[in-house]
């Protein structure tokens, strides 16, 4: 039966810097496998839509610009994404990956949370469609 068993720790802490990380003034490097923002490479995409079907929170939508020429635009709802990386695994062609650099994804503005991935001209043609800024997938052709 002892008293003050944590005395060793307590005394040592006086001579050590605090264990607290002074975020956001000091940021540690994110680990390599951190599942941050999703990135899509349209050049390898064949339009199978397995990623769309497997997403547990319906965060992905594939908009077809030209099926024969394999030109697609991916609409990504960042606010719905759970960062589970199932889409990355489902895609057999390696179009999707989650970056470890962008993970501070808070924003007071909801518009920031819809991202379009694809060729610049394809995205412009999608956005130029009437009612294309409506959310919830109603802009599909």
């Amino acid at each position: 039966m002892k008293m003050g068993t944590m005395l060793g720790d307590v005394i040592q802490s006086l001579f050590k810097p605090p264990a607290t990380e002074r975020y956001p003034f000091e940021r540690r490097a994110a680990p390599e496998r951190l599942r941050g923002l999703l990135r899509y490479d349209p050049t390898k995409c064949v339009g199978c839509q397995l990623c769309v079907r497997d997403c547990p929170s319906n965060a992905l939508e594939l908009i077809v610009v030209d099926k024969a020429a394999k030109r697609f635009v991916l609409r990504y709802h960042v606010d719905r994404c759970t960062f589970c990386a199932q889409c990355v695994v489902s895609c057999r062609f390696g179009c999707l990956k989650m970056t470890n650099e962008v993970w501070e994804l808070a924003s007071p503005d909801k518009d920031q949370f819809i991202l379009y991935y694809g060729n610049k001209s394809d995205i412009e043609s999608v956005l130029a469609r009437p009612f294309s800024r409506l959310v919830d997938g109603s802009a599909e052709n």
Partner: protein, 306 residues
């Protein structure tokens, strides 16, 4: 110092603003030290001031079923008691503002007034948590009060007087009472922790059991005043114990060093133990505390007689 107009004394120094500011500063030192002991950073220097400012800005909600006058008045009485006690204690190493025979007892009871008001405030409220907190506060009051009083009586006996400033003079001119009455010092410092409801004696306001104890229903101004009262008690209690046991406070620098040294030890004691249940607190004090204090007194009386 009796030449300063009493009003200045009451409002600024050594009462009033000086105590309030000193209390806030010492609360910060306490929180910062406990944090460092726990390997954390701790709050910045203005945190206690910000807490009080925030509380004063909030609405004071008077719950149903309480006596409104008591509810609003008790925090005021508590703070007033704590601030008045400062008038008899050698603050900042200077002579006490007022002094008369027996002011040791008066000062101690003014400090206990704070705890009594907390207990009454809890009993006043119809909330279950407050009632249990009030019971515990008063139970704890009855357990540490006697040994704590006896431990401060020790220096009074060897100095042969009931006046705080005489005891203070005696402490300054003799070897530290910490060395000649170690048991008394131990009881004084642990008793001070009990009085202030610091861990491990924080059963009356055990956050994980009864939310906030007697002060559960308090918000806004009432809570701010109670907290200021607690801080004032910390400040004054440390001064008293340092003045008696650590060889007196001859000047402001000695005051700062000795009281901060005591606070360092108290912060360490706060971090080392788990919270004691209220029955364990009572058992500890009435078994060990009272007996040790009595034994110390006996030794002193015999020595003095010899």
């Amino acid at each position: 110092m009796n030449a300063i107009s009493p009003l200045l004394v009451l409002l600024f120094f050594p009462g009033g603003l000086f105590i309030l500011a000193g209390g806030l500063a010492y609360e910060w030192v306490d929180r910062k030290l406990v944090a460092r002991f726990q390997n954390r950073i701790g709050p910045r220097w203005f945190q206690p001031l910000a807490d009080v400012a925030k509380l004063l800005a909030k609405e004071e909600i008077v719950p149903d079923g309480v006596h409104a006058g008591l509810f609003v008045g008790l925090p005021l009485v508590a703070l007033a008691g704590a601030l008045t006690a400062a008038l008899y204690v050698p603050m900042a190493g200077l002579k006490p503002a007022f002094s008369f025979t027996g002011d040791l007892i008066v000062a101690l009871y003014l400090l206990s007034l704070m705890t009594l008001c907390t207990g009454l405030a809890g009993a006043n409220t119809a909330d279950r948590f407050s009632l249990i907190g009030a019971t515990r506060t008063l139970t704890q009051l009855f357990s540490y009060e006697a040994p704590f009083l006896l431990s401060l009586l020790g220096p009074a006996i060897v100095a042969g007087t009931w006046r705080i400033d005489q005891i203070h003079l005696y402490a300054q001119s003799h070897p530290w009472l910490l060395l000649t009455q170690p048991v008394g010092f131990l009881i004084a410092i642990v008793g001070l922790m009990g009085k202030l409801e610091l861990p491990p004696f924080d059963a009356p306001e055990a956050e994980t059991e009864i939310v906030s104890g007697a002060l559960t229903e308090y918000s806004g101004r009432g809570l701010a005043l109670f907290r200021l009262g607690k801080n004032a008690e910390l400040f004054i209690g440390l001064t008293l114990v340092a003045a008696f046991y650590l060889g007196g406070l001859v000047n402001p620098l000695a005051f700062l060093l000795k009281t901060l040294g005591l606070l360092f030890v108290m912060a360490g004691l706060q971090s080392l133990f788990a919270r004691l249940r209220i029955d364990q607190t009572v058992g500890l004090w009435w078994r060990y505390g009272a007996l040790l204090a009595l034994a110390q007194l006996l030794v002193l009386i015999i020595f003095r007689g010899v």
